[in-house]
């Protein structure tokens, strides 16, 4: 199996998790989207050197994963797959911000390293929460919820189709790669070969997009993606949103690890 196939299978397995009946799956998708957005806003609202103060927020993705019965291993693999982006964003901080910030005996840690660690932690929290949201909701209900929350249809439909046809295009890319490998006589893929491959893929994607659009028009599509299943906001959804938002406010207002440390040291 090619690496592309393996990556697609992994992505599909995440979507398949959403089909199960779990306590989190029964929560209205809009409530999950609202809470996750509040969580992401809370995470990014901390200053650039925060590390310990962010740790209590890890409760949110962990609790969601537990309620949604989302296994940790595939989540961790996807986090690792996306990690290079976070590394790229933060890797220059230690070079540019060398002022000592923490001193442990003879060891001085530069502020750049602290902000770099903070970026990685924020990345793990926000992307982890987003992955759990997708795994516990599914892309279609998620896009429908975004639409109901006021996100323009043009974006939600694009997002949905990006997800659906990533698999089809990925399969085409996989077939093209295998066809090339079969005629490569064991040689690796030269950089020059990527251009035509991506060009062909782009043209095929363009043609397929046209055919899909025609197929949708043939069944009366008018720009609005309607769903068979109605969303029903219930009291428990309100409670879900309020409880989590209250927790985020609490974590933002009080540096819990610091307060706990002081309490313990004071008690000692």
């Amino acid at each position: 199996m090619s690496r592309i196939d393996a990556a697609l299978r992994e992505l599909r397995s995440l979507e398949a998790l959403a089909a199960r009946d779990t306590p989190l799956a029964r929560v209205d998708p809009r409530a999950k989207v609202l809470v996750t957005m509040a969580f992401i806003v809370t995470v990014v609202s901390f200053d650039r050197y925060s590390i310990a103060a962010l740790l209590p927020l890890a409760l949110f993705p962990m609790a969601l994963a537990a309620l949604g019965d989302v296994p940790a291993a595939p989540l961790a693999r996807k986090l690792l797959a996306a990690a290079p982006f976070a590394l790229f964003v933060g890797i220059f901080n230690p070079l540019l911000d060398r002022a000592p910030m923490l001193v442990y005996g003879d060891l001085a840690i530069a502020a750049g390293w602290v902000s770099f660690a903070s970026i990685l932690l924020r990345f793990a929290l926000t992307v982890g929460a987003a992955l759990v949201l997708v795994a516990a909701t599914g892309m279609h209900p998620l896009c429908a919820a975004l639409g109901r929350l006021g996100v323009p249809q043009v974006f939600t439909v694009q997002l949905l189709f990006l997800f659906r046809y990533a698999f089809v295009l990925g399969a085409e890319a996989s077939r093209m790669t295998v066809a090339r490998e079969l005629r490569s006589c064991g040689r690796g893929m030269a950089l020059a070969a990527y251009g035509p491959l991506l060009g062909h893929l782009l043209l095929r994607a363009f043609e397929r997009a046209q055919r899909i659009h025609l197929a949708m028009l043939a069944r009366g599509f008018d720009g609005e993606l309607r769903s068979l299943w109605a969303m029903r906001w219930q009291g428990r959804d309100t409670l879900f949103v309020l409880a989590w938002c209250a927790y985020f406010v609490l974590v933002r207002a009080i540096d819990m690890p610091l307060a706990a440390g002081r309490l313990l040291l004071g008690a000692a």
């Binding site: 659906r164 069944r219 068979l228 109605a230």
Partner: protein, 257 residues
């Protein structure tokens, strides 16, 4: 709308790069007819089919479905009457589950949810795919995808079915199931295909296209017996093409069993 007639008059069409696809097509199909449109690649089969559903509009000439000319203004009405099944089912199946995909058309028609669900169930049962309702379309086999794609069109209750290469990519068993299914419909069926065995089994009439023109129009027996025509249009007669229809059906039955 009367759906007893599908008619084109001097229909011509060229693609934006200037490639002429149709050159003065005249044809007329009546209610309940099963018509095959055959021809080599690039003969204009798919382009002609796209005109029947209003997905392409005539650049010159006219297409009529019943009393209605196919225009931008009548397209929505036309698409309720003419159901179009695409060649690649992956182009048509994009919703997360089979049931939701079949419901896509009826939902766009503005029908109430209860009726949409009933139509989706009935269409899936009609094509023998009711057991697939909760499955994700990408997990289906080629034959299952084709059946679900047909159900997605059937749920809109069209009077006319237009199918582009319906048997392409199917294994023999799935292909025979498809032929049986299409034979069981009483709709007007217009099928563009390279599968001349399917034509022999399903259709009472064959329209041969060549370079955007109608080269021949007759029964399968007449068309398949004309070796010069087939050679000119880059076609080949199916095995035992000139056998009597009952012989062909019996042979097909024997092949199935």
């Amino acid at each position: 709308m009367s759906h007893h007639l599908v008619e084109t008059r001097d229909l011509s069409f060229a693609y934006p790069d200037g490639t002429p696809a149709l050159r003065g097509i005249n044809c007329r199909f009546v209610h309940g007819e099963a018509v095959a449109i055959v021809g080599a690649n690039g003969a204009g089969k798919s382009t002609l089919l796209l005109h029947f559903n209003g997905l392409l509009l005539a650049q010159s000439g006219e297409v009529r479905i019943g009393e209605l000319p196919v225009t931008a203004g009548t397209r929505a009405q036309i698409q309720r009457t003419v159901g179009y099944v695409f060649q690649d089912s992956d182009d048509q199946l994009f919703m997360p589950t089979v049931e939701e995909d079949v419901a896509f058309g009826p939902l766009n028609m503005g029908l109430p949810s209860v009726e949409v669900k009933a139509r989706a169930r009935a269409a899936l049962e009609r094509v023998g795919a009711a057991h697939l309702a909760t499955r994700a379309p990408y997990r289906l086999s080629g034959g299952e995808k084709r059946a679900v794609a047909i159900a997605g069109v059937m749920a809109m209750l069209p009077s006319i079915l237009v199918l582009d290469e319906p048997s392409a990519g199917l294994d023999p068993a799935a292909r025979w199931r498809l032929i049986e299914l299409l034979r069981s419909f009483t709709h007007t069926r217009i099928v563009a295909t390279h599968d001349l065995e399917l034509v022999r089994e399903l259709c009472s009439r064959v329209l041969v296209l060549h370079e955007g023109r109608v080269e021949a129009d007759g029964t399968p027996r007449e068309v398949f017996a004309d070796a010069a025509l087939l050679a000119r249009c880059h076609l080949a007669a199916p095995a035992s093409a000139v056998a009597a229809p009952c012989d062909a059906a019996a042979a097909a039955q024997q092949q199935r069993t």
